[in-house]
């Protein structure tokens, strides 16, 4: 007969080193799932958002519908979004990714479009005068100048995605959200607090990482921006 262990796990304390050491593998897996879901969603959204924003910039007629559609998608609550996609994707990670892509799209399209629109007409004229075709103008002048606004959108989209992934727990693919969901049902305080804190840490680190990327990609803004 051994006495039941009297550690912080048994006492169900909020902060518990024992939890971290005994469940390390579970926590690491959840963090990896969280990172993967976020990264894949934001990347797919970025790939879709750039052409959409370029099209909306070129043809004024397209701008209205594109912005309206993305705004409507953003209004739909996350739980409903994941549930509406259920018949299409079933209980899978793709379901969560699809929902997150739709949310990130709004933020990205809006910001990239704002960035493209902010390119001064003089600059475009000058590039045309130097013999730049429309494609070269877009790739070497307009898109780089739109980068600061686009990166701002990317940062907001990424931070929001990190926090929204947790709702994916409803279908079992919520990364750290899974731990929070399970911890809620079993009243496991250490697990809920650890997973919540890790979510915030991931969001902050991702934001800082993107800020660093932004500074490297747009050296010309450094003197102006504080």
């Amino acid at each position: 007969m051994t006495a039941p262990p009297d550690d912080c796990l048994a006492r169900n304390e909020w902060i518990c080193g024992e939890y971290l050491s005994t469940r390390r593998q579970i926590i690491v897996d959840a963090v990896l799932q969280h990172l993967e879901l976020t990264a894949v969603s934001v990347l797919i959204a970025l790939v879709i958002a750039v052409p959409l924003a370029v099209v909306a910039r070129r043809w004024a007629l397209a701008a209205g519908p594109v912005l309206a559609l993305t705004t409507v998608l953003y209004t739909i609550p996350s739980l409903a979004m994941f549930s509406l996609l259920l018949p299409v994707y079933g209980l899978s990670a793709s379901l969560v990714v699809a929902g997150l892509v739709l949310y990130s799209l709004t933020l990205l399209v809006r910001n990239i479009l704002a960035g493209l629109r902010a390119v001064p007409e003089d600059t475009r004229q000058a590039a045309r005068g130097m013999g730049y075709g429309p494609i070269r103008l877009l790739l070497t002048v307009e898109l780089p100048l739109a980068l600061p606004a686009a990166m701002a959108g990317l940062r907001i989209a990424t931070v929001s995605a990190v926090s929204l992934v947790t709702v994916g727990a409803i279908v079992g693919f919520g990364g750290l959200g899974n731990l929070i969901y399970a911890g809620m049902n079993t009243y496991f305080k250490a697990q809920v607090l650890t997973a919540s804190v890790l979510c915030v840490v991931i969001a902050v680190l991702a934001d800082l990482l993107l800020l660093g990327v932004q500074r490297i990609l747009t050296p010309w803004t450094r003197a102006v921006r504080s």
Partner: protein, 226 residues
Amino acid sequence: MNTISEAWQWLTDSAHWAGDDGIWHRLTQHLVLTVVCLILSCLIALPVALVLGHLGKGGALAVNISNVGRAVPTFAVLVLLLLTPIGNWGEGPTVVALVLFAVPPLLTNAYVGMRGVDRSVVQAARGMGMTGRQMLWRVELPLAMPLVLSGVRIAAVQLVATATIAALAGGGGLGRIITAGFNLASTPQVVAGAVLVAVFALIVEGLFEIGERLAPGWARGRGRTG
């Protein structure tokens, strides 16, 4: 296609509209929760933002609170509150979590709106001998109104969406129909619930849009700070 017709059947079945788990009851809960939390958060955020904006202090605070709010998953906050003594207050955790999430956009928009008022107009008001209080009520607030109201709109829509997540943590509201559907493994109910939630969110957004169009000039125009 099959799921959609089954979801439609679920929605049109009058048995699903009545009773404590019925659609009407959940809809009322959702509405009451949203309105109560919106009023509470306005009472907390707006006075603080207006005074700080008038004094021109605490700008970094207002903006940073907004950014932090985005990084913290609502679901995590809900569950954390649920496991604290607040969890025994019935809808307490939901209300606290929702208010926490509605305050940042209100605070930021109202603050930015107050600071955005043309300084020369404020100088002129001071030159006319207005006291600080008169300037706040008669000059700055009316001019900042469009942004303040746009913050209220963002907060309202965010509340409708977040009130849905409350269902994951056992709270009431329309999200409950979705989570109940998941527990019953009934995809038609999940989809039907999701449609209800999405439509409700879109109606709220639509009502604000209409209100904005009909509003007198001083309240119109939307600058958003996100």
